[in-house]
């Protein structure tokens, strides 16, 4: 255990806690979705941190292409980075759809609050007219 791990994992976990707290305690749907976005960012950071190795360079070898062109001391783990690339795009998809559902909910109920609104009873007459 060293300082790097404590700082990185500690910071990421604090961020995760903020996200979960937002989802659990905010009643406004869009706020909850923002909490979801925070959770997603935190988990993405977490995954990259799992593959990080102190003092090594980016996983790009050969050629003179800028960052990490001379991986003398070795490179960090490329696998988690590939996973996170996928996860980031997925998180955008999730957020967009959740927002659309929130808009639809608002258009029908006039509120973004899930708890305060209750749908009334439904009966057949209402439909026939």
């Amino acid at each position: 255990m060293n300082g790097h791990e404590l700082v990185f994992y500690g910071g990421i976990m604090a961020l995760l806690a903020v996200g979960i707290w937002a989802v659990l305690s905010r009643r406004n749907l869009i706020k909850a979705i923002m909490g979801l976005a925070i959770i997603e960012t935190a988990v993405n950071l977490l995954l990259v941190a799992v593959g990080y190795v102190s003092g090594r360079s980016a996983p790009i070898v050969g050629g003179d292409t800028g960052i990490g062109s001379s991986p003398v001391g070795g490179v960090v783990d490329p696998v988690p980075q590939a996973l996170v690339l996928t996860a980031i795009v997925i998180s955008l998809a999730t957020t967009a759809l959740a927002l659309v559902a929130a808009i639809g909910y608002y258009k029908h109920t006039g509120t973004l609050d899930l708890k305060s609104f209750s749908y009334g009873r439904t009966d057949e007459k209402e439909v026939r007219k």
Partner: protein
Amino acid sequence: MTVDPVLLIVIPLAAAFLVPLTSLFSKAIARWIPLLGLLGMALVIGLDFGDLYDGAVTSTTGGFDPPWGISIVMTPFGGLLAAGMIGVALYVLLSGVGGRDGKNGVVYSTMVMMATTGGVGMVITGDLFNMFVFLEITSIAGVVLAAMPRDNDRKGLNWRGAAVYAVVGGVASFLVLAGIGLLYGATSTLNIAQMASRVGDMDAFVAGTAFLLMLIGFGIEAELFPLNGWAVEVYRGSRWGTSSIFSTVIGKAGLFALLRMSFIVIGPAIKGDFVMDILLWGGAATYLFGEAAAFTSRDMYRMLGYSSIGVFGLLTASFSIGTGDGVRAGVLLIIGHMLAKPLLFSMMAHAGRRYSGDVPLKALRGMIRSSPAGALMMTVGILALIGMPPSPTFWGKYFLFSGAGSSEQWVLVGILVVGTVIEAGYLGRLIFNIFDVRKDTRENGLPLARGIMGAVAVFMIFLIGVMPGPLHDIIELVIRELLQPLTYIRWGVI
């Protein structure tokens, strides 16, 4: 004959990508593409099914052997579930043939196909992160499905379900992702079989945390107590097809993933029966909760939804008994539920199609007069769900009682008895309503396609109920697959 099982994924993806292109030229052709994609999947699984009797059907992608590349490991259990999921999706889409398309019919059927593809992918993949990607495919398609309103909806109940599921499902899948990161950190591999072979030197606390994350994440997808509040919102507002897909495809895939991870990877890493016990009692609690909530429901969509939640609990509990009989029971209960639930949802939706929003029990009143065929099929479905012989559920419950009895889980036996009585109570009320003929009964004929598909489901219930024999060999393989991690590891490394 063996076909590459990767086609189970490739065919529907190609079909989905074709839909927007075709829509530009002809909407009439585009709406058939998802059905064709599903038929293609059915063909592939049909050709491969025989090989499942010899063990797993495997394949690699990208040209690298596992664990370097992503592999497909269609185990007997996975293959069985995949076949069931494809069957349910076909049931949903074929029942709608000839009927009026709801709003966005093409998108709806594409999403039915893609939710199924995601579910199939989750059960046949041999790679943990790949499983996450398929989980996302199902949950994205699930959100869109949940947001599709019923034909006569004016209240926007669908949006509420979709919004809740989008947020909760998003949190679930990213907790799963954190768990995947943890397991990757501990074992430095993503291949499930290799991971299983390396759990020996995993720290117990790390394994426990990974289990917690998977339990929350997949438990939300599998509608386990107390993580299932979102599911009822979805059942309440969505079309019957969506409800069927949620209760038999998305939830079953989540359950499969939870079982796969707990039995093969995490369970062996933690000493003792800790994992099994949590699943067993969590499942039993879910069962009681689901059945009790269904008993008090006034809205039939929610009643059948809670009943599905109960079944998820029952399945989790029966697999977690950890004996051969428990697994036998679980497999047969899954088959029984996959056959009966879509049938019930479709017939109930037909009886209640005049209601916008909640559908009360009285919608069924006099159904035997207004649409006799539908009423009879629904009665068969109800009896099959309770577990009357001959039905797959009957055999499932038989093995469940014998499994719980022989491992001396008397509390579990008690819970099962209580649950079954409650279940018979509320489902019996449905039957009473169906046969309760009043004067003002109006004619409500069943559309042809829905009638034919219902008849097919009824036929399958009787067929498997009377002759469960051919399933015997494959269920024995499922037992080995789940209870002996070595079997899976041997299949997985190809």
